[in-house]
């Protein structure tokens, strides 16, 4: 195994890892705050791709401005989804919330496949590339990493430095106590759901600048997000970002040593082992 192949492959994986991590942060935030596994996560990622795609192809909007739009669409979509599908069953056992979010998954995929068909689309954008020795970094990859870091940092600032963010963390810690302190927990849950969805959409928007996609592309990323979330500890956004980077690196590095088709096997085996041996994840759970 030559180092020549290892380093570029590892850097590629690392960069993708940030984008994976961003999507997983959305999933884990929702789980951490309200113990709901959002099965509409994949279609929401796909929606993010199509928001950027439509703005780009129809209105000619720059994809990176399109991502800002995806953020707000995601926020609105998430809040609406919370009130329509989740609010009524928020205190019920996990099967109920799983199925409620799954029903949204079906509806979104149903509409998206009849509106966009399953023909692969791509956002055609090139930002050039930088070469250093045998390492070539595509501009789109580099910008995706920067956007992912900025969004993650903004989430941190929001959760730890603003009053609303602190209220979300309070609701996540103890909903009853938070309500006694005068926090409207329902609003905070809806907002967290919106933020989680917005993160997934932004991640989808970034992915649309890297790969081609269909309305069904989200499901692969959804399962990937599950793995990352478990890797980093369910409910822990930092963990999700770290988990994303770990998974990205793992994908990048392992392809050098084992056939590509074995990589997912390795991922899932690690996933199951972590669930069994260290269910709180590498960094421990909770926001």
């Amino acid at each position: 195994m030559s180092l020549d192949a290892l380093i570029p492959s590892a850097i590629d994986g690392l960069m993708l890892g940030f984008v994976y991590g961003l999507a997983a942060m959305g999933l884990t935030l929702i789980f951490g705050v309200m113990r709901v596994i959002n099965l509409a996560h994949g279609p929401v990622i796909a929606l993010g791709m199509y928001v950027v795609y439509l703005l780009f192809t129809v209105l000619g909007v720059n994809p990176y401005i399109g991502i800002v739009a995806a953020l707000f669409v995601g926020l609105a979509f998430g809040v609406a989804m919370y009130f329509i599908a989740v609010d009524r069953v928020i205190n019920q056992p996990e099967l109920t919330t799983l199925l409620a979010t799954y029903s949204v998954n079906l509806m979104v995929i149903g509409i998206a496949t009849s509106a966009f068909t399953t023909t692969p689309r791509a956002v055609d954008i090139s930002l050039g590339s930088v070469s250093l020795g045998n390492v070539t970094i595509l501009g789109t990859h580099a910008v995706a990493v920067v956007v992912a870091i900025v969004v993650a940092a903004a989430l941190y600032f929001f959760l730890f430095r603003t009053r609303t963010g602190k209220s979300i963390r309070a609701v996540s810690n103890n909903r009853a106590a938070a309500e006694l302190m005068g926090i409207d927990s329902r609003r905070m849950l809806a907002l967290s759901f919106g933020i989680g969805t917005a993160l997934a959409m932004v991640s989808g928007g970034l992915l649309s600048t890297l790969f081609s996609f269909t309305p069904l592309s989200g499901s692969g990323h959804e399962v990937k997000s599950f793995v990352i979330v478990v890797l980093g500890g369910l409910g822990n956004p930092t963990g999700a970002l770290v988990g994303g980077i770990v998974l990205g690196l793992l994908e990048g590095i392992s392809t050098v040593f084992i056939p590509v088709s074995w990589v997912p096997v390795l991922e899932y085996v690690i996933f199951i082992l972590i669930l069994l041996l260290r269910p709180s994840g590498l960094l421990g759970s909770r926001v």
Binding site: Y102, L106, V223, S261, L276
Partner: protein, 322 residues
Amino acid sequence: MRRYRLPFLPLIVVVIGVLAAIPILTGNPSMREELFLVFMLVTLASSINIIMGYTGYVSFGHIVFFGLGGYFAFYLMQIQGWHFLAALVAAAVPSALIALLIGVPILRLRGAYFALATVGINEATKTAINNFEPFGGAVGMFFNFSIYAQYGGAKAAGELAYYVMTIIAISTIAASYAIKRSKFGLALMAIREDQDVAMVVGVDPARAKVMAYVISAAFPAMAGAAFFFKNGIIEPGIAFDLFRSIESLVMVVLGGIGTVAGPIVGAAAYEWLRGFLITNPTLANFQLFLAGLLLLIVVLFVSAGLVGWLRDRFPILRSYIP
């Protein structure tokens, strides 16, 4: 005075038996195909109900046992030249054994963690079989046409698969009913309500849960064997389709989780509805959307499912519909 109780099990066996005989007697192959699928879904839903409805463990990737059973049986028939029935029985054994081996560690997990672990196991199995050359890797395996010759041709083989699927469905319902009525079933339901309390009253949760998991794995394995025997081709994408796994959860909830009759009603209603939506020209485009909408309405407003709702609404029915 003891109220007269309708014999549920004999009744359901008669109903299914009569229903199953209709397409054979009238020579209606499309109805036979339809019923074959319904009986398969009844098997999947009823067996998932044992671990999910009675025991309270959401086995999200339960389809893994359907796929494994299909693969084991297919391998025995295609490569080793076994007879279908022998392969079917033989396929259930390793599948149940695998359920035992993975059940012991993963059933210690609770709630969402268990659900995620089962998804992981299904995906891990799917991707591993993708690379497993004896099982044909990503391409899968397909029968030589001559395999059906020993059963009297493809048509006769299809009928044999149909009879077998009917028997599997009836056995699953019988097992589901027997468990619900037994002390073992009570133990499972006690675990569902409160595992710690169940332990205090003398239930061994680990043992009971694993047993329920193994039972609920054996029937899908046999259904998989029959399905892929008739299908003549098997590949990882169809065998370990997470979507089908979720579909069977939906059927259980639609019919009534934790009841014996619920998964039967749910599977039949789901399949009927899907057939209706797909064949209706105006609705076909919105098939998935409408399915999602209906599921949401059931989850939000009729969380007990059709059978559960009936039982709640008319308590007298509780004696008749288990």
